[in-house]
Symmetry: D3
Subunit: 242 residues, 6 copies
């Protein structure tokens, strides 16, 4: 991490090798588009990153169809590119009728207690959730559920992450809420890994527009400019306890 203007840290918010991070993604690709470079950087420095993806559904999409099997493969490939330790998609919606935002209570339970990847199994130092201001109803529902799951629990009952960060979704500059994007992670050296992960999503990414690699490149370049590095990712720091 060399930077001309700021002497940046070699750790991300003090996270160290063997610390554990849990990332909650509404759909496959959200873990990459927003915080992908940061996950790659964390993984590269020995931090164990685990991704709980909430759902993928079968169905018609603008510009094609969504095939859960294909999307699971893409998700696995992207997670591999980022160095993710373990990952899972919780709800495979074969009928295309599951409406995530009507399942608030189940979402909280999922994040707290999913048997493979959850607060209970990972016991993470840091939790990454979608930021509050995303325009997408599923992102809002997952944000709320992740936020509720992250409340401070009495000792011994449930793990409480000491760091909670909100990450950007695709097109999240389209938001009526102005959030405080105060954490900036230099991801210059990890842009290639992020780009590889983005490429893994052949069914989701487009040649142009908001879902293109070029679009994400521009967003991360502008974030980089704000701390005078090549690429960066910004986060909303809901909790930083130390």
């Amino acid at each position: 991490m060399t930077s001309a203007a700021l002497a940046l840290s070699d750790s991300v918010l003090g996270l160290r090798p063997d610390d554990r991070v849990l990332v909650v993604a509404p759909h496959p690709d959200d873990e990459t588009i927003g915080p992908g470079g940061t996950l790659a950087r964390l993984s590269a420095t020995g931090v164990a990153v685990h991704v709980l993806c909430v759902t993928v559904r079968r169905g018609r999409m603008y510009g094609g169809a969504s095939d859960p099997f294909l999307r699971e493969q893409e998700f696995a490939k992207a997670c591999a590119a980022l160095g993710v330790r373990s990952s899972v998609i919780a709800w495979i919606d074969e009928t295309g009728t599951v409406d995530v935002c009507n399942r608030q209570r189940e979402l909280v339970d999922l994040i707290e207690r999913h048997e493979e990847v959850s607060l209970a199994t990972v016991d993470p130092v840091a939790l990454f959730i979608p930021s509050a201001g995303g325009y997408h109803q599923d992102h809002q529902a997952v944000h709320r559920a992740g936020f509720a799951a992250a409340r401070v629990h009495p000792a011994g009952l449930k793990p409480t992450p000491r760091i909670v960060l909100g990450y950007r979704g695709v097109e999240d500059r389209w938001s009526a809420e102005n959030e405080s994007w105060w954490v900036h992670v230099d991801t210059t050296a990890y842009w290639p890994a992020k780009e590889e992960a983005l490429r893994a999503y052949g069914s989701q990414m487009r040649a142009a527009g908001p879902r293109s690699i070029e679009h994400v490149d521009r967003i991360d370049s502008a974030a980089g400019a704000s701390i005078d590095v090549g690429h960066a990712e910004s986060f909303v720091p809901y909790r930083l306890a130390c």
Copy 2:
């Protein structure tokens, strides 16, 4: 203005040939770094753009000295590149001791009644002022004064602009305020003009960092991405009366 995703307008907020715009800039270069592409686009479509620059001072600066004469030349050259109709620097501070933010009342008077470029002489449809959230004390003072000058006056007493926009300053992502950047102007075709105006500021721009052309390029590219065009500039729309 061609755009793949949105069918953008050929006018900026309905401004038409011979409409008048007044831009208030704290220092020379602020009119270029923030809204330069928009000013070039307006000028190119026949709108008359006038720039009131508040002050320039003689003195020591980080990375060199500020020579008022040189800076006036740069300012004139940049305004020419943008197609500005008339421009003036109001306060030449030869002693380097003028503190703009202790002259709130004089600033309001200046914007309302400067004899060459002001609300009184231009009678503008639109007023461009620094946005509220800039970190720089002079930008904040000029914002407040411009905002006060733009209040609705009784008919006949003083011109009231029906559009009031806040523009970005250099480094204005370094702000503790979250403003609503809701107006987006496609400036793709005018990036060359903005770049030329930026180059005119030889004493102010740097090869790298926040005051580099590359930095401004990245900011405008990210703004462009949000409406799926090459470059754009965003504004805070304090008033749009029609």
Copy 3:
């Protein structure tokens, strides 16, 4: 549009004859109470206004009963008074059990693809949705769905409106959110049309209180005072791309 203090425009945000506007209203009368004068002004200047009303239900109401057939008639009459080009009520809820706010995904689909009046059929320049801060759960749900539907889509896949405005609901001063009502449209000359449309809602309007014509008159008069005209309507400008 004559105004003593401000020289107002003869276009609304640059909208021109044959431009298309889509208004999404949670229930019949919302298109009139909030933006009715603006719709009348747009129609009068040749802009094509289309209204998608989400739902009306059969059932008991405070102060009477709601009869879907009667309310469709009222809606048609009000739309005629405003000069609306086409209009439709999407969901006629004969059982009175449909809870709009549990159908977030269907709402987004409705606004994007309803076969008569939607983004797909109208391909509008401007989209009008309820503002974010309304107290009513249905208004909030329709706001969120309209906002999601208005995201920038890749070219060719779906129309993206370049203007997105939030309008007031009845009683929306009863709100815990402070929104930025920055667009003001002079509707003085169109108050009679709005009043006629309000009168069309015989089953909804009351002789006094928040649902009276006098109440709407007072709100629009105060908005008018802020730009020194007789009547005006204010909007939240979520997106103004040009």
Copy 4:
């Protein structure tokens, strides 16, 4: 109410003997943890306090099980300690499957028209609801429903409370929203009553952590410090009409 620094009032926001207050609590104990001291003070001065508790469910909880019968007993005991005039739990969820936040419309109806304790039966001067910023999905749903129910209604149709206050939930410092806690009620003399009510919740309170009496004591002590008294409770004053 003696206070060294401020000469505090002997009434709470002007409420007087025989005035009526309606408190809406998502679950048993919310009426105590947030506004318990204030309710005790109101009761002691002759104001009639009524509590509508929305729901309690049978089911597994972290650290034990929830038995509706036991929790009703606890609720009754706590209400007695606070001097509450009447109280009811509306929805006993024996199956543990009721998801409050998918029943927005029923919640509004409940608060407006529950046959025992509601706006219709109590006709209150003041309504207490959870504040907007609570992290818990049920608190958010009850907040929204209470807010909607409190809108100004035409005279004769439904009671409209002239005071609407938001109270804190347990752990509500864990919030992404910054609300305006501008009302401060000196509850120093009523801390013993609040403590007794907290103790009544044997199945809910813990020896340590966020659900401990010591935790509530610390929160109320800090609120007290802000007005220089021993203990206080703070509220968000959504409406104060007089």
Copy 5:
């Protein structure tokens, strides 16, 4: 105070006969335009209202000249119409050069210790200051000074008002800040007194526009509509301790 929809109180926030209120006004007429009806209502019910007006200056104004002697007479007449108990203008600026916003510390001292009308001499229960969001630099300075003066002081050192309200200035809908106008005072019966006080300001009020009686009438009517009364004034409740 009779009201159809809400059963309003006969006291304003619990203020009672012989309670004392201190109003800080930047210039003569601010005490009338914003909170005049409320002051008249308080006075009529026996509350002692005292007004500290900060400054008036000799000088050129838009639409005439400002003569301090004349303006003192107008101020006295307006205060009489509102039933104000005592009033003073602190700084008579004969030279027209005093810039209030460069005298922050002196302003705090003035509000705390002016020998005739101040916190020290009035020892008020309630303090009225301009709200934070006014566009005028003097209003902002007086707001900040009043806010600082209202902090909680140790007992015995200085009076601390238990109620602090922000009132509207003329044209304060022209504001970049969205404040929470949560207190609404029914002033229907006191509109005649307010109108008389407004008329006293012959040199300040205009026949039309923002400084006309008709403009104030419209603002107060809209505020009235929000609580279903004829006229009302709204306030920001910075502190309500009881």
Copy 6:
């Protein structure tokens, strides 16, 4: 740092031995009342803490007089108790007439280039400044100046701290701004050091009220409760770059 509920870090935001921190305090005691425990914790773990105190003046105060010599002694003693490496008071105002908030430009220069303790001499990793929302005019001025000084500078010209935190002032719960206090530092083990530093301020602290040790204790206990520890201090994280 042991904690029942959260496994807290042994570093503060990743700061490590020999890292440098610059604290800017408006007056002596601000460095202790807000962030004193955190400074003690940092010092104890080998981080070098430097304090730039802006000013102290000779003059009359409520409850006594301010003697610059005495206050310098108190400041030195408090800094020693906290383990501060170096400290200085920049402006000794013997006449009591210096108004900090009219010297915005000089304040920025001071923080950037004071010859003993400044960004230039310390080249800090982290900068601590008063938070934006303090009610005191000097705190606001120092906040703005510190924020401006902390902007990202081109490499080589001036040090840019990668962490910028806002700390609380005394009585900062008396604020009209709602800031995001998202960083929580467990200071349980350092409360004794903070208490010792507070006691050093014999001329400033009081036996009761906002300036009493008991008051600070209550604030820090409530902050501690929010992360389930004994005492904590909260900060606004304006920048966390890594």
